[in-house]
């Protein structure tokens, strides 16, 4: 039996915040956008890494969900998203329980946004993830404002994952740019646990442009500094605090 409560308890451990880093960057009743970083300069096309922002959004969503709260993941049933399917054993490997997840595949972006607002407004899910590809013209300021209002009203965290798009103005509370970063090698130069390069592009009423690398620790259910407990590579940097900080039961409201 998959025991997710162990991770939940660990996720609420108080962590030291790095200087200038927001105390609880992802508020529970907010809308948060995760953009895929552009591929490196030598890339021919606009090939982007959509797995990293999605994984980060999933991990934040899992931290936001209390035990038993379902996680809704909305994506499109066509195009690029139809070729790359979510793989449940991979979710398990990240410490995400697939049993608590409902996956919804929708025919077009309009349906996705409509279903998304419905899910958020209903308030039965701990978090709702909307995955979008490309420029997504239907996701305009009005649409994002609608999601923000619904999230504030129902206390559901909304995570929007976008790839193949330049960051655009929206009503989101925070906007992040995420890329995969080199992992800490295991013995025999094997790839290690997932490391993300995270940039805070925008935060409502907060600092912007912060950048750091975080590693996901599955056993503890938290993000940590990749150099934590190991020989420092580039100066000691404290960890990105978990979504919920402070005392265990309380939702952090930023």
């Amino acid at each position: 039996m998959f025991d997710s409560s162990r991770f939940k308890r660990a996720a609420s451990l108080v962590q030291a915040s790095p200087k200038g880093w927001p105390d609880a960057p992802l508020q529970q009743d907010g809308v948060h956008e995760f953009y895929a970083a552009k591929g490196s300069a030598q890339g021919l096309g606009q090939e982007q890494d959509s797995a990293a922002p999605l994984a980060l959004a999933l991990l934040c969503a899992v931290q936001a969900c209390r035990a038993g709260e379902p996680l809704l993941w909305l994506r499109l049933a066509k195009g690029k998203q139809a070729q790359q399917r979510p793989y449940a054993p991979g979710l398990v490997e990240l410490g995400i329980d697939p049993a608590a997840m409902v996956l919804m595949r929708l025919p077009d972006l309009q349906s996705l946004l409509r279903a998304g607002v419905d899910c958020v407004r209903h308030g039965s899910a701990g978090a709702v993830i909307l995955e979008m590809d490309g420029r997504a013209p239907a996701f305009d300021l009005t649409a994002s404002r609608r999601l923000t209002l619904a999230a504030e009203q129902s206390g559901t965290m909304v995570l929007i994952v976008r790839s193949g798009a330049d960051p655009a103005p929206s009503a989101a509370h925070t906007r992040w740019q995420v890329a995969s970063a080199p992992s800490l090698p295991l013995p025999a130069n094997a790839p290690g646990g997932p490391v993300f390069d995270v940039t805070l592009l925008r935060q409502r009423g907060g600092r912007e442009g912060l950048n750091l690398q975080v590693e996901w620790n599955r056993e503890r259910g938290t993000f940590q500094d990749p150099t934590f407990g190991r020989a420092p590579l580039s100066g000691g940097r404290p960890a990105l605090p978990a979504v919920r900080t402070g005392d265990a039961g309380r939702r952090s409201a930023a």
């Binding site: 890494d49 399917r85 449940a88 398990v92 049993a99 409902v102 919804m104 349906s111 209903h122 992992s183």
Partner: protein, 481 residues
């Protein structure tokens, strides 16, 4: 009985090609009056009547029309079955009270509705379906007047009876049965008992009988869609009483809207949990009506609305409302029901584990209403060994690797070269030889790799170099976070 686009008084024939000849399958009443008969060649008929119009005979369209009439006749009773190519049987047992009509009333109403649609129906009412069918077909008033052909035992038997001087069922009924059964078999006495209303026969209705149904007839046809939901809510309230009495809750609700012109529209909603509350039922039907691709057309109005519950299951008592649970969050099931009604059941899924060998079959998507299954724990202390996304199908990549079984050094995908910085592998997965008859197939060697940008991929070599394949291909099967 059948009339198409031609005016009812025109002479026309329905023809089909049989063994290279145009043969007449059916004739209009006017054509029959000219002395033509079904089964003639069209050429022979044209020799007699040069102006005879000929239309193609389409039995499947006739059958579809008959099934539409079945639906329209469900307004009287849910027990309606088509019989042969051109007849319907209605079991009206116990229906007269709710219809507020007697036998002749039902026959008159049916005749009026069918003639409005352009049919010339032959109607009869009897205690058994066989008697009613025979009375209607042969146009007699009592079973005793029927010719022996009404038995439906085949030409030989009918001829033998006629030669014995037995021409009507009445003459047959006066004879002792035992010699008849000895001469013509047991079918004869059974057919006779059916015709003489001595022995009943059940009909199998075209649609399975819903276990619970309630209906509302309107004195005046309802020509707008708006009040529908109110009526559905009222009917759902009645259905709730029936469900509560049985300790059940509905998993599937179906509304049939009978239009005055015989058209029947059906709407169905499914629910993940058994429902009883009219408000919940109406909420689902509101979604359903709003999400219809072509909206409901009331035409000249609906005059009967039936709510049936074809699927229901036990509800544990005390579970009257499901809206709240202890966590303070509302229950997910109503939301899933609504999304399912609007976007289709095929859009909502859960992951379910499967005991399979090849990685692409290890998980599968099941309907969201199914019960979540538990997943195995990952091994502590290991990095993720399986990717977050899987390519379906795996992507072809060009790989630079040492032969015969070295790890990939460099690979090209989507027009871009990735230099491999770290790797782990191979994880060798044999072909599942125990599943197929051939029992052989390429082995897969999986590598977890990381490129210079820190992106992590899952590659595999399809086939062992040399022993299985001369030049094994490489595929990208997944992407890690």
């Amino acid at each position: 009985m059948r009339e198409g686009a031609a005016p009812p008084d025109a002479a026309f024939a329905l023809i089909a090609k049989q063994r290279g000849a145009q043969r007449i399958m059916a004739l209009s009443p006017a054509a029959l009056a000219l002395g033509l008969s079904a089964g003639m060649m069209l050429a022979d008929a044209r020799a007699q009547e040069p102006d005879l119009a000929a239309l193609e005979h389409r039995p499947e369209a006739d059958h579809a029309l008959l099934l539409r009439l079945v639906e329209a006749c469900e307004r009287y009773t849910p027990m309606v079955a088509p019989h042969g190519d051109d007849a319907l049987v209605l079991d009206l047992t116990g229906c007269f009270d709710s219809l507020a009509m007697d036998e002749t009333g039902v026959l008159d109403d049916l005749a009026r509705r069918l003639s409005r649609l352009g049919f010339r129906p032959l109607l009869a009412c009897a205690a058994t379906p066989d008697a009613a069918l025979a009375l209607a077909r042969f146009g007699k008033r009592s079973a005793r007047e029927l010719p022996v052909a009404a038995l439906g035992l085949g030409e030989d038997a009918h001829l033998a009876l006629k030669r014995a001087g037995l021409r009507t069922i009445g003459q047959l009924a006066d004879r002792p049965r035992a010699p008849l059964a000895a001469r013509f078999g047991k079918v004869m006495s059974v057919a006779l008992a059916h015709l003489l209303e001595e022995q009943d026969r059940r009909i199998t209705p075209h649609r399975a009988l819903p276990p619970i149904w309630v209906e509302q007839r309107f004195a005046e046809p309802m020509a707008t869609v708006k009040p529908l939901l109110g009526v559905i809510e009222w009917l759902a309230g009645q259905a709730r009483d029936l469900l509560v009495a049985r300790g059940r809750g509905g998993r599937r609700y179906e509304v049939s809207l009978f239009r005055t012109d015989g058209h029947v529209a059906r709407l169905a909603v499914d629910s993940g949990l058994p429902l009883r509350e009219p408000a919940d039922v109406v909420r689902l039907f509101r979604e359903r009506i709003e999400s219809l691709a072509d909206p409901l057309d009331p035409g000249f109005g609906y005059d009967l609305l039936r709510l049936s519950i074809p699927l229901h299951e036990d509800v544990s008592e005390g579970q009257e409302r499901l809206d709240e649970d202890s966590s303070g969050r509302p229950d997910l099931a109503p939301l899933l029901d609504r999304l399912q009604v609007r976007f289709g059941a095929e859009s909502l899924h859960r992951f379910a584990p499967r005991d399979e060998h090849l990685p692409e079959y290890v998980d599968r998507l099941v309907p969201a209403a199914s019960w979540p299954e538990s997943w195995p724990q990952p091994e502590a202390g290991e990095p993720p060994l399986r990717p977050l996304f899987l390519f379906d199908p795996p992507q072809t990549v060009t790989v630079l690797a040492e032969v015969p079984d070295g790890p990939p050094r460099r690979f090209g995908w989507q027009g871009r070269q990735h230099r491999v910085v770290r790797h782990e592998g191979p994880e060798r997965l044999a072909y599942p030889w125990w599943k197929t008859v051939e029992a052989t197939g390429p082995t897969r060697d999986y590598y977890r790799i990381e490129d210079e940008d820190g992106r992590r991929f899952w590659l595999f070599r399809h086939g062992l170099y040399g022993s299985e394949k001369a030049d094994p291909r490489w595929y990208l099967h997944g992407i890690f976070a």
